[in-house]
């Protein structure tokens, strides 16, 4: 497979402008002759659907939720970055670009990241105009806060519900186009296959989750905006329904899957409390603005936190990283939490937790300020744990939160299948091996509002192939494949529930492909996943039929894909013998335990190619070259 990144010529800061000036255009009156399918309605899919429909394309938007407003972007708490420099603290497009590329441990494409930083300012303008109620100062201007991995305050926020408000903004724009008849909405519909005709993406097969009806949809281009695959770990901060099936089907049709092993483990989540647990809850990174992270200096210190005197506490992030302190990037904070817990200094049940303490901030700023900043987060913590964080420090522990890997896309956000685009978390493009806080919202909206509407138009303007038709054999075959798979899942009638397989997969992934990885462990994981896959297809029990609302059937299809993806993640993690960002190979670390990159051998994007059900995937490499930054060992000390 040839990977053409299509990065424009020219100086870094002029690439996007120059590229935009030369993209082909579709005449205003011709746009309505093109149909575009968008799968997913989060920040990326919602903003893309709305913007494409405003331009005049006929858009069909699909989501598995009962309403597009419920996509998991809604759960993002802390904020969205933009290089507005409203705080006059020296921020600039270059700084946001540099922080993001460094935060990603130099494993992202320079040109994409710079474009993201450029567009960040337009996003804030757009959202304010939609009526997103960002936090403001008394003078009526927008307020900013700080986030990890940056020394400037560039994060815009709407209390602790920034994702919700941005998504409702995109959703309102989308619903306006539904009302105008430019978007046909398919809620409670799941994409189960991609249709490729003569090498181009031409449609999808979907299942109506209420009636079970299998439908085929024809289009001129398909956009996947289906989010991340963190649920491969079963326990994650993702919504229960988040899944990999759409991008996994695309992978099987020839779309390269890039850097699948790059997963983000968020340092501040509520620790696991029991075997029944169905998901993990994040406590926003913004809390690290005012909360101080510590553990007792002594091993196995079982005293309650208020009984541990100041000089017997270890504020380990402030001690080890004086210039960033509690605001080091997520991968660094997570690894350090694991380290102190491995040393036996963890707190709470099972010793898997560290304190996030607000006592000093409350003393300094007063209860009211803390309440105003974090009410909903503190309430959520209280509801889940039964403890009051205004009085007792929070207990937190890292959890799977985001996946930087995803479908490989070129500079135009097109996958290696012509006509198939991928935006938001579902693609791999902007965060390298670690994403900085408040950058996911930025990327989703940049892709959907300001990149895809141009680049998709260029593809359509140059498209010479004839229109596809639903009665073509490719559509009939895809539909038959989908039906066959559903029948197979229903016919096994084994002894184990779908969730039991999912939990088992999650445990394998967390142990061997989680916060730290080794050669032996990954090989063990690949073997175990192989067995799990066999066992799943022989022993899963899915009751009911395919012609009704059947939630177990939905989950079964998703878990089957997660099992295969889990294997690919381990293969990728095994081949990358360096450490970088969230990918930590124990064999490759600096003397003080930081991730040690191997730029000579691994400065590339690993894009995996499907070679058939029983064949090993093929590795394609897109070299990463850096013109504007010098590669350095990341230091936050």
């Amino acid at each position: 497979m040839e990977l053409k990144s299509n990065i424009p010529e020219g100086r870094l800061e002029e690439k996007w402008k120059h590229h935009r000036d030369h993209l082909a255009l579709v005449n205003a009156t011709n746009k309505r002759k093109f149909t575009v399918i968008v799968v997913g309605s989060g920040l990326a899919g919602g903003s893309a659907s709305a913007s494409l429909a405003e331009l005049g394309y006929d858009v069909k938007t699909f989501c598995y939720q009962d309403s597009p407003r419920r996509a998991h972007s809604i759960a993002a708490q802390g904020g969205i970055n933009a290089a507005k420099n409203y705080t006059n603290d020296g921020d600039s497009t270059f700084r946001l670009f540099y922080d993001t590329i460094k935060g990603g441990d130099f494993r992202a494409r320079e040109a994409n990241v710079h474009r993201l930083a450029e567009l960040s300012v337009n996003i804030i303008d757009q959202c304010v105009a939609q009526g997103v109620p960002f936090a403001r100062e008394y003078g009526g201007q927008l307020d900013n806060r700080s986030f990890g991995g940056a020394q400037v305050s560039r994060t815009f926020y709407a209390r602790g519900q920034t994702g919700q408000q941005l998504l409702l903004g995109a959703y309102s724009a989308l619903m306006r186009q539904v009302g105008a008849g430019k978007i046909a909405l398919y809620p409670r519909s799941e994409m189960l296959d991609l249709v490729v005709v003569d090498g181009r993406a031409r449609g999808i097969v979907s299942r109506d989750l209420v009636t079970g009806q299998i439908e085929t949809h024809v289009a001129d281009a398909v956009v996947l905006a289906t989010g991340g695959y963190g649920n491969v770990f079963f326990l994650s901060t993702n919504a229960k329904g988040c899944n990999t099936s759409a991008i996994w089907r695309a992978y099987k049709h020839g779309a390269a899957f890039a850097n699948p092993c790059y997963t983000q483990i968020h340092p501040t989540c509520i620790p696991v409390s029991g075997d029944y647990q169905s998901k993990l809850t994040l406590m926003s990174e913004s809390l690290r603005n005012d909360g101080r992270i510590w553990v007792p200096k002594k091993k196995g210190d079982a005293r309650s936190p208020d009984q541990i005197p100041e000089d017997e506490r270890d504020y380990y992030l402030e001690r080890k990283y004086p210039s960033y302190g509690n605001l080091v990037p997520r991968d660094v904070a997570s690894r350090n939490a694991k380290q102190v817990c491995d040393e036996g200094r963890g707190v709470g049940p099972g010793g898997r937790g560290v304190y996030l303490d607000f006592a000093d901030a409350i003393k300094r700023l007063g209860m009211n300020v803390i309440r105003e900043r974090y009410t909903n987060l503190f309430e959520m913590y209280n509801r889940i744990t039964g403890e009051d964080p205004y009085r007792v420090p929070m207990r937190i522990y890292p959890a799977i939160h985001y996946t930087m890997g995803g479908l490989w896309v070129d500079y135009n956000l097109m996958t290696s299948i012509p006509g198939l685009f991928c935006v938001g978390e579902a693609n791999f493009s902007d965060h390298g091996a670690n994403r900085l806080g408040a950058s996911a919202l930025m990327q989703g909206l940049a892709d959907g509002y300001f990149v895809l509407p141009y680049t998709l138009g260029d593809y359509l303007a140059r498209l010479k192939a004839p229109k596809a038709k639903a009665d073509q054999p490719e559509f009939r075959k895809a539909e038959a494949d989908v039906r066959g798979r559903i029948e197979k899942l229903l016919s096994i009638k084994g002894k184990r529930t779908v969730d039991s397989f999912h939990r088992e997969l999650g445990l394998i992934m967390w142990e061997f492909c989680g916060m730290s990885r080794t050669d032996a462990g990954l090989k063990e994981a690949i073997r175990k996943i192989g067995e799990l896959k066999k066992s799943f297809w022989n022993d899963v029990n899915v009751l009911g039929s395919g012609e009704e609302l059947n939630q177990a059937l939905e989950r079964a299809g998703r878990v089957a894909d997660f099992i295969e993806l889990g294997e690919l993640m381990c293969i990728d993690a095994l081949h990358r013998t360096e450490s970088c960002g969230g990918h930590f190979r124990e064999e490759s670390q600096t003397p003080d335990g930081e991730a040690k990159r191997d730029d000579a051998n691994f400065s590339y994007v690993a894009a995996w190619e499907y070679k058939g059900p029983d064949a090993a995937p093929g590795l394609n490499k897109e070299p990463l070259t850096f013109e504007s930054v010098t590669l350095a060992q990341r230091s936050y000390q």
Binding site: Q65, G131, A135, R159, V210, Q277
Partner: protein, 249 residues
């Protein structure tokens, strides 16, 4: 703890439903209500019985997907809490819990506890937006917004669209839902140009969907997991009245 559950079972939209009793054992007080239902469903599946269908997604109280009546109260006994964030420590060993779907003509039951809330989307589609094309926005700080207005708008914008207000209302009215969006946008300078049109269109759509009228009982606010204030209903009524008086044919 051990519990007796009486759950509404209905195989499909056009089928009859009834309450069915189940026993669940060894429930931990730290479980969420939906995790307790997960335990029930794992047990039912192992026995070969159809698991109970219920909606949920984020399970952290923000997506608005989940929702059911717990002992006759929308989202259960804890105030300002969605059912996914309701924890079993609020129940006692030996309790009987009755679990039913949202009941409203505009929210038909699809299966068991799952209802169709598409009507909410159609109300937003009628006017719950600011018409601003992508790319046409002015610089974000060009229009200052008083902090008070912005905070108040955020209070209204916190609505998660779960439908508890409708389920709690004796009239099955969607007024709090519509009022929250009308107030959110009406409080901001960006929402002014379409303020009247918005109120007329959204209220009109709400009536068309078959929701009942508002008689200011206040059950909606009491049930709302985001504590959306009933004051917003007064704001909506004023906007609607002004818009109706001002309307030119």
């Amino acid at each position: 703890m051990n519990l007796k559950l009486k759950i509404w079972r209905q195989a499909g939209a056009k089928k009859d439903g009834k309450l069915v009793t189940y026993d669940v054992k060894d429930i931990s007080p730290d479980m969420s209500f939906l995790e307790m239902l997960d335990v029930l469903n794992e047990g039912l599946t192992k026995k070969g019985d159809d698991p109970v269908a219920f909606d949920s997604d984020c399970r952290e109280g923000i997506c608005g997907t989940c929702g059911c009546m717990v002992n006759g109260v929308a989202h259960g006994p804890t105030p300002a809490t969605t059912v996914c964030q309701l924890h079993m420590r609020h129940f006692n060993d030996g309790d009987t819990i009755v679990i039913e779907p949202w009941r409203a003509r505009a929210f038909p039951v699809l299966k068991d506890l799952v209802v169709d809330r598409g009507a909410f989307d159609r109300i937003i589609s009628a006017g719950g937006f600011v018409s601003v094309r992508t790319g046409s926005a002015p610089e974000a700080n060009a229009i200052p917004v008083p902090k008070q207005a912005s905070d108040r708008a955020m209070d209204a914008a916190a609505c998660i669209g779960c439908g508890a207000c409708v389920a709690a209302c004796p009239n099955a009215s969607a007024t709090l839902f519509a009022a929250a969006k009308i107030s959110h946008l009406g409080l901001l300078p960006q929402g002014q140009p379409e303020r009247q049109r918005r109120a007329l269109a959204m209220v009109g759509q709400m009536d068309k969907e078959g929701f009942g009228g508002c008689t200011n009982i206040g059950e909606c606010t009491a049930a709302c997991p985001k504590e959306i204030s009933q004051d917003f209903i007064a704001r909506m009524n004023r906007d609607y009245l002004v818009a109706s008086a001002d309307k030119r044919d």
